[in-house]
Symmetry: C2
Subunit: 312 residues, 2 copies
């Protein structure tokens, strides 16, 4: 169980918080955490109890792995993005491991983007936001959520579903990243559909994101966009449609995207784009990187950091 990020307490909007963090850390790289219990860093199992339920033991190893990865890579990145599914599959102990990863990230001064791609209505949307960035009032006292600084959201069910998230995230200084155009092949099946009014569906969603976002003056907004890094030709158009949204750019590294192709993301300033990489950093040693898993991961994160920073 973790409390809200120390940074949230400053009362600043999410766009400003990202701007501050990127400037302070001189990095726009987000470390994706999608731990597979069968592919953890060596040593992750050292402190795991010799017996007990598999879920508890695997979750303890996952938590140790995440702590080690965060410690190795933190100096080169600005945020971590835990993939919620990978923790949820370990049941209640998995939720505890997720909390431990969030806590470690905050201890290293990193923002946390809870990547669950949530989308639901009304009380359910409120509950998701309470779960990830807010607090749930109960007769037994307030139950703190995960303490993330932002979450990812799916737009299919419409604006009211995002509004319900914002009602919780905005007062907390947290952000919402809405799926706009993702990096998977299946994005063509729905996101790219041409609308009768002109343009693909993702452009329509981009306009919704632009309209929902809030920020002060020329500052970045608190509603961002998930923009796949594998189709760089889309990034410039996205920037036209969402001039002040922070772009979360997955697909760098393992999925084939190259930081060098993403320059328009940074048109509004260094915090305009956050490039996420998961396996390309965490598994850098297996992929031919030099040295220990930690050294190779750090080196790859530094490489991505330098590539992005030179564009911004």
């Amino acid at each position: 169980m973790t409390g809200p990020s120390a940074v949230a307490a400053t009362g600043r909007r999410f766009g400003d918080r990202v701007t501050d963090h990127v400037a302070a850390r001189e990095s726009q790289i987000v470390l994706g955490l999608d731990p597979d219990p069968s592919r953890l860093w060596p040593g992750s199992g050292d402190g795991v109890p010799a017996d007990g339920p598999p879920a508890a033991r695997a979750a303890a190893a996952v938590a140790a792995h995440c702590r080690a990865v965060i410690a190795a890579v933190a100096p080169a990145v600005v945020a971590v993005k835990p993939q919620l599914a990978c923790f949820e599959r370990l049941g209640a102990p998995g939720r505890a491991a997720l909390g431990a990863a969030v806590e470690a990230a905050h201890e290293h001064g990193l923002l946390v983007v809870a990547d669950g791609k949530r989308g639901d209505i009304d009380v359910s949307a409120t509950a998701y936001a309470q779960s990830l960035v807010g607090t749930t009032p109960t007769p037994y006292g307030d139950v703190p959520g995960l303490g993330a600084d932002a979450l990812t959201a799916a737009p299919y069910m419409g604006v009211d579903t995002i509004d319900s998230l914002l009602a919780v995230t905005r007062p907390a200084g947290a952000g919402v990243f809405v799926l706009v155009r993702t990096s998977n092949p299946g994005a063509a099946d729905v996101e790219d559909l041409e609308l009768a009014g002109g343009g693909p569906l993702w452009e329509h969603v981009a306009r919704i994101v632009d309209r929902l976002g809030e920020g002060d003056g020329a500052a970045l907004h608190d509603v961002g966009a998930v923009v796949g890094a594998t189709r760089p030709e889309h990034v410039a158009r996205m920037r036209e449609l969402m001039p002040r949204a922070v772009f979360l750019l997955p697909g760098v590294g393992a999925q084939g995207g190259r930081v060098e192709d993403l320059a328009p993301a940074w048109a509004p300033g260094p915090a305009g784009g956050l490039a996420t990489a998961s396996r390309s950093i965490v598994q850098a040693a297996e992929r031919g990187g030099v040295g220990t898993p930690a050294a190779a991961a750090r080196a790859e994160a530094e490489r991505l950091r330098d590539a992005a920073w030179s564009l911004a």
Copy 2:
């Protein structure tokens, strides 16, 4: 931690399993569980420890509430649909409460539809399916998932995201209900958009659902559709586009939908439509129902059951 449903072990496809269950129970009603720790049934807190963290205490009360609701309503329904967000906001103890609710539902012979509206790619989609209906292999042994019989999924990211879920759910005899046209006002913002190729986006998604589903002969498919019960004029068109999909019909009761308006859902047989109701059943006593919360909930569930059964 719960194991897979006893019914899953029969090796039958999901469409057949729903058909069997509906016939045996003479009900097409799904009990929605979206517990709010501040609005639980009286007595839910009786066994809660006098002290401890708020999350653990609230989750214990939620679990007791869910067990009581399921016991009261089980004879009138065919399945339960826990809203995952409402459990997740209570952290690791909330996940344990969710497991307890699933276990109680299975003990009463009910199917479980895990309502999380998940949608993600590749390893993340696999992890969600492992978490909800499958098993996760780890070096410490296999970690069982929630043991649900079906899950709800969001289509925005495309067919590959649903295929990744099906790769896990299909061998388990479990089902996937894809959001097609939901019951909230915001459905107009994206789902109803007119496509250049003709028809609204939801019709396109309906065709995807029809194409992905599998079943034997004339049997119902294992890919179903979430079809909001608040716009009955859509149900007939949905049935044309998805002749063999099981429709999950939320919005009955509290959201204004009437079972009587949904007849086309049952064109392929009594298991063609599963009407879900949450607050209208659970809070029936507060809403003018007669007797204890349990008696009023049971009476409302019976009323809905009779209304639907007379149409099927």
